[in-house]
Symmetry: none
Subunit: 218 residues, 4 copies
Amino acid sequence: MSDTAELPRQRHLRADASRNRERIVDAARTAFVDHGPDVPLDEIARRAGVGNATLYRHFADRKDLIQQVTLASMDRIAEEAEAALAEEEDPFQALRRFVHRAADERIGSLCPLLSEGFDKSDPEVVRMRDRLDAAILAVMESARQAGKLREDVAAGDLMVALTQLTRPLPGMMCDGIDRYVHRHLQIFLDGLQAPARSELPGSPATFEDLAQPQDGAM
Amino acid sequence: MSDTAELPRQRHLRADASRNRERIVDAARTAFVDHGPDVPLDEIARRAGVGNATLYRHFADRKDLIQQVTLASMDRIAEEAEAALAEEEDPFQALRRFVHRAADERIGSLCPLLSEGFDKSDPEVVRMRDRLDAAILAVMESARQAGKLREDVAAGDLMVALTQLTRPLPGMMCDGIDRYVHRHLQIFLDGLQAPARSELPGSPATFEDLAQPQDGAM
Amino acid sequence: MSDTAELPRQRHLRADASRNRERIVDAARTAFVDHGPDVPLDEIARRAGVGNATLYRHFADRKDLIQQVTLASMDRIAEEAEAALAEEEDPFQALRRFVHRAADERIGSLCPLLSEGFDKSDPEVVRMRDRLDAAILAVMESARQAGKLREDVAAGDLMVALTQLTRPLPGMMCDGIDRYVHRHLQIFLDGLQAPARSELPGSPATFEDLAQPQDGAM
Amino acid sequence: MSDTAELPRQRHLRADASRNRERIVDAARTAFVDHGPDVPLDEIARRAGVGNATLYRHFADRKDLIQQVTLASMDRIAEEAEAALAEEEDPFQALRRFVHRAADERIGSLCPLLSEGFDKSDPEVVRMRDRLDAAILAVMESARQAGKLREDVAAGDLMVALTQLTRPLPGMMCDGIDRYVHRHLQIFLDGLQAPARSELPGSPATFEDLAQPQDGAM
DNA sequence: TATGAATGAGTGTTCATTCAT
DNA sequence: CATGAATGAACACTCATTCAT
């Protein structure tokens, strides 16, 4: 009935069960942001106000939970990219807006989780990645067409740098790092602007590159 | 016989004990880089080829080990900064060189460790931080004097961004992230160049700011 | 017998969980008696027939377990004192009965545990101590009124001596010390009888004195 | 102090070695008194001002050290008994004096150590026990002959009670228990005086009984 | 279905004892 | 002979995951 059709894991989910699932995902994101990726699952369950076993009813294990949380985050970020492209007149300004909004989504505390044992072959993941890839590519391509974005960077470069620059420092309150995040992103964006002020080593990293564990490219 | 007067923890350290200490510190740095800051200490001991208790003879606990490893790394990085300033003609090129060399030192996998329960009042730490601060400030000031470095950034900005951009993604082979690190640093450096292409939010972060847990500045 | 409502730690405790808790407390008391206060908690769990983590679900740490075991023991001993006073005609005989019954409760292996890191400010402990204090005082006062108990002793004296004389010798089978316990208590009781046969050094120790870590009195 | 010829462990012991041995035994006794029988051997070595390995050169293991410390203590106590008998006119006063002096020797913190894995067949132990037995028996017999000591107690009773009443409470500073020790011993001695005020359960425990691990007697 | 409870495997840390200088 | 160093075997405690109500 409601538009949960976007993540139709289980077809017929009881109303309270569906609500529990939502709460767990939200609690997990918050917990990851606050205490890092090793936060006890019991803590997440506690924050969500459910028993620990309920968490396991919805998510097979920690990896699965991370997967779902990450998907939800990617969904939001893709929306940000799409909105930025649609609403901003200046293409490079759209890129700036997207980047800063993604930072506010705490993308840094979630995307690193991608790397652990993340199942990149999961169809859900593939679908979401493609969507996000497309959205970001669109923003970048628009800026590039306008001559505002340097030529030697690709979407993968942006995502990795964005992720890294917004990662919480372990043990440091999020407010600690937050003070710097937007400054550094702004500097990085300045570096992305055309004309390029230096030559980059290596080759542009596309989104697909992120999925490949091993790469000999240089 | 000039002893290693630089870190005179214990006066008379037996030759083999000293060798073990070195091996543990080395193994720890490698292990932190490979598996993150939560790597089991037993794993570190195993890599160092010593028993676990030997590790505890040299380092009171995980925090202490991190402290020592970090100090060793800061030492190396300070040297890099000093050497870059002394040997490079172009002041901004000195900054570039320092940043890329620091990345090769895996600074990203060590300095974040600063944030956890790091004892910032430790005299050794204070001394090393001051030295590193001075070295980086000298590089930056030189570049600034030459009109190559934007005005609205300070040493703390550089250190945090450098740290973040070089952090290993947990679980990802180091080679994975390494592919991007130097590209991103180069972009960031481009963003640092004068003239500034945008206005930065917040205020420049000095080295001292990094030591303060709570800051209301924005 | 005290009703179980006296220790309503958790409101709704599942039947099996409650049974486990009981078994752990019992196993702990036995283990403390058999192997002293440093017996591995795993051993206690093993005796109770539960996993080690189950023990930690019920008791935060060793201190907590000791606290609970001690409380249970104090409860039983207080009952003994109350019963002795109520049922024995001869007041000094009531004292003798209480002392010997307390010995059978293995009080010696538990009350010493009071001294370590025992949280004397715990409301449960305070309440129980006050109850035990009142019960013993009543017995002693009754005997004193009858002119059977020497004047220069207080409840603290009795408790400490009772505790010491009934402590198990580490490593000695309990039966080893048991052979002597009741003999020695009987002798001690004889020494407590009025008229006093000698003058005691120091001053009577009240129950409150036992709670004070430091005392200059002599 | 008895001449050192009594403990001719090693025939030709270098002067400094002999001094070290003494210091270790002394440190061990103090450490046992202060921190209980589980005090780390390194702590004892530290107090003695020697390396830990030196301790192992003199004593095979913890058990051996305990054995030697106990022997030294028994030696002192035997002397006290002999001196009391020789110097006091009133036989029961001799008993009182011996008991209080033995308490000052912290016998309680050492004799319990007898029970653990104590090698009772060690000739040294047998010899010392016989000597101590004889000394105490002499004191008691003297008092009994004078009609001052009740008939139904033996030397083993006295030693066990004396040990128990002078044991330090774990974790409680020694001064804590010290306040009570002499009071309780005095009461116990009063209970020992003839005429007996009650009938004792069981049978008198001789010194030999203490050596038997298993006893069905009652 | 949701839940509290149970559990075993894992980690940090200590300590008795052995080794090498 | 004396010592600092090394070590493996504990033990306390945690947590992801499974079980039973």
